[in-house]
Amino acid sequence: MMNDGGNRIENRVDGLFNKFCINIVDGKKQYLFDEEGRRYLDAFGGIATVCCGHCHPDVVSAVVKQMNRIQHSTVLYLNHAIADFAEALASKMPGDLKVVFFTNSGTEANELALMMARLYTGCQDIISIRNGYHGNAAGTMGATAQSIWKFNVVQSGVHHTLNPDPYRGVFGSDGEKYAKDVQDLINFGTSGHVAGFISEAIQGVGGIIELAPGYLPAAYSTIKKAGGLCIADEVQSGFARTGSFWGFESHGVVPDIVTMAKGIGNGIPLGAVVTTPEIAEVLTRRSYFNTFGGNPVCTAAGLAVLNVIEKEKLQENAHVVGSYLKERLLSLKDKYELVGDVRGRGLMLGLELVTDRKLKTPAKTEIVHVMEQMKDMGVLVGKGGYYGNVFRITPPLCFTKEDADFLVDAMGYTLSKM
């Protein structure tokens, strides 16, 4: 897609994200700057990744300080950075979730989680939710459940259950009804015992879809009865983004394995899996090693991120500003027919555009137009959902009420002209 001096960099995301390429060369807090120095409000956060803010001084200085000392030696030797960060991360977890594995991405984290579940239970079947996204390697591509992300390769051992989607789902917001489909899949599609269940608390790539209330506790219970482990994919919802520290907390469950990436390092390539000592033990049967994983620089950054989230009360900010933003977006819904749904929590919000509110026909062309107009006005948002008609609003958590107003005003202005 992009042509650079005769050599092509292959990244075909046109159709899902904005096609109108802007050259982003600088970032500071919740703003990005293009080659001409023009400032944009970053309401996408590098896909829910930049949580503290671009080039946050505390994170940058932790990175630089560590870079100047040692970048990489692997965990074959000791270094305090990985241990300190693992301890701090574990302290953010409930229950017996205290063993950490570091990887370099969300995909790697989910791959490891799926393998651990299969090894721990001795079973193969994994259940994931339709419309979910968990990665693009061999195992995770199977768990991912949207055709656009699934190549025509073998992806065995995964069953995709009904999406408890309050807006488009058959059972509306009745979480328990959807959860019955999980039992059905187990009864009729597996031996009756499964390896586990993996889900996001709020589907990110899938268009900011909150799982219907009551769903997760019912699904978790069903899975546990079938001997399976519950994996919470917190790659997008984690690190205070939703107003709780972890997305699963707002569903009142405690998973067996938690995976994370994106916000964990404010953009540095880092991922992690946190589980119980009992489950972690399965990896001792053979050797698992991640060369870059847990390197001093990335773990120093991770620790700095945790400190910033606490010091700057970003979790509270996400909750306060996020609620305010959602209110204002709901007022857009009152005003404009094109806005079919507004949903999400904290600073993980979605706005779905439809050409017909009853039929919920995805407004695919309209959304592209609005996105382009907003960019021209200085607001960058994301796009997602199976039909590509949902605005994904996942800014850095230092987003302010003024930023929220600007975003809504820009969107409202555009909608009013259509």
């Binding site: 991360l89 950490v100 870059f292």
Partner: protein, 429 residues
């Protein structure tokens, strides 16, 4: 144990004048152990947690499966070029380079500068926006590759790169089966664990349609260095184990984790031919051998006189940055456009800037020639040791990717496991 016997993957430094090797060897049995070469760098004083404290925390928070070197693991707190420093400021010669990863040297100033500069401007925005760093780096990287290998995908690790390469092979050919060598290592994720062919790293989970062919190992293989005989095994697997058509073949030119095992000369040429006739593509895993490490060539596969269809890389590519890449032809890349494949961190400005700086350093400081130069000096000195000590069964490798295999019996080639561990500890001391 080949894994522990695999040493000598050094970061680099200009050569010292070489002395009479034989004279040096004869002095060993007598007096004091040899001393580290001089090095003008004072490590910063370390005021952080001690080795014991770190080990405690690791045991508690990082799981029982996280292993480490040495009876008493080293607390490595600083690095400079080819040296590492522990908490007491003691300097060590790093002959392993964070597992063949630190290519330019720890904290190489030019690489650090590039990374730090970019970190202050922009760490991450993703490739949904433009940024020059990724384009510039991709251009520089592809200029180092032969043939039509000019399309780059950036990822975050060798595992991710090999996963993507396997996906491409299957999509492009429409076939299912993959072939890899016994004793190979290609990663630890669901797909790559199947390609990996060493039981230590393989967990008991389904691992797909993979065939592991005889390893063309000149030292331990049943056919010595007879490439033709080993290649016949590949044809056999295709004829009897598959539909006759395969997706692809993947190999390291010198097996890293497997113990610096060089593929028998002429092997890849024969096998590439066989695989392509069966409709498959050829993948060169350059995660350890790439970036001039083998001395004679920039890429390991060049030592076998072949041009692969897909090349994967990681480790040395960023001098330690979490970075990996897959390079292939426009024709193969075109099949990826059928769906969407996206890597959130891949190609971020900081890693791209770092990677680009690494390429510049390798060229500017003539590191490839240096690897050839020092590598041949090193291998000849190691061969002298082999003359002297029966326990050294084999010395092999190229450039600065060398291996020394210890055996208790040269005829039987019985692995000297305990002795290797002992030597390993002593060398550290």
């Amino acid at each position: 144990m080949a894994f522990w016997g695999r040493i000598l993957k050094r970061a680099l430094q200009p050569a010292r004048p070489s002395s009479d090797a034989a004279a040096l060897c004869s002095s060993y049995s007598t007096n004091a152990p040899p001393q580290l070469p001089r090095f003008d760098h004072l490590p910063k004083p370390y005021k952080g947690p001690s080795a014991d404290a770190v080990l405690e925390k690791r045991k508690k928070f990082l799981g029982p499966s996280l292993f480490y070197f040495y009876e008493k693991p080293l607390n490595i707190v600083e690095g400079k070029m080819q040296y590492l420093f522990d908490e007491s400021g003691r300097r060590y010669l790093d002959a392993f380079a964070g597992i063949v990863t630190v290519s330019c040297g720890h904290c190489h100033p030019e690489v650090l500068d590039a990374i730090i500069e970019q970190s202050k401007l922009l760490q991450h925005a993703t490739t949904i926006y433009l940024h020059h760093a990724i384009g510039d780096f991709a251009e520089a990287l592809t200029s180092k590759l032969p043939g039509d290998l000019k399309v780059v995908y950036f990822v975050n690790s060798g595992s991710e790169a090999n996963e993507l390469a396997t996906l491409m092979a299957r999509m492009y050919t429409g076939n299912l089966e993959m072939i890899s060598l016994r004793n190979a290592y290609h990663g630890g994720s669901s797909g790559t664990i199947g390609l990996t062919a060493l039981n230590t790293w393989k967990y008991s989970i389904p691992q797909g349609e993979i065939h592991h062919v005889m390893n063309p190992d000149p030292y331990r293989g049943p056919f010595g260095s007879d490439a033709k005989a080993y290649a016949r095994d590949v044809q056999d697997h295709i004829d009897f184990g598959t539909s006759g058509k395969v997706a692809g073949f993947i190999a390291e030119t010198i097996q890293g984790v497997g113990g610096a095992v060089e593929l028998a000369p002429g092997y890849l040429k024969l096998v590439y031919d066989i695989v392509r006739k069966a409709g498959g593509v050829c993948i060169a895993d350059e995660v350890q051998t790439g970036f001039g490490r083998t001395g004679g060539h920039y890429w390991g596969f060049e030592t076998q006189g072949v041009i692969p269809d897909i090349v994967t890389m990681a480790k040395g590519i960023g001098n330690g940055l979490p970075l990996g890449a897959v390079v292939t032809t426009p024709e193969i890349a075109s099949v990826m456009a059928q769906k969407i494949q996206f890597n959130t961190y891949g190609g971020n400005p900081v890693c791209s800037a770092g990677g680009h700086a690494v390429l510049r350093v390798i060229d500017k400081e003539k590191r490839q020639a240096h690897c050839a130069d020092i590598g041949s000096h090193l291998i000849s000195r190691l061969k002298e040791l082999q003359q002297k000590y029966d326990i050294i069964g084999d010395v092999r490798g190229r450039g600065l990717m060398l291996g020394v295999e210890l055996v208790t019996d040269r005829k039987e080639k019985t692995p000297a496991k305990a002795e290797t561990l002992h030597l390993f500890e002593k060398l550290k001391e």
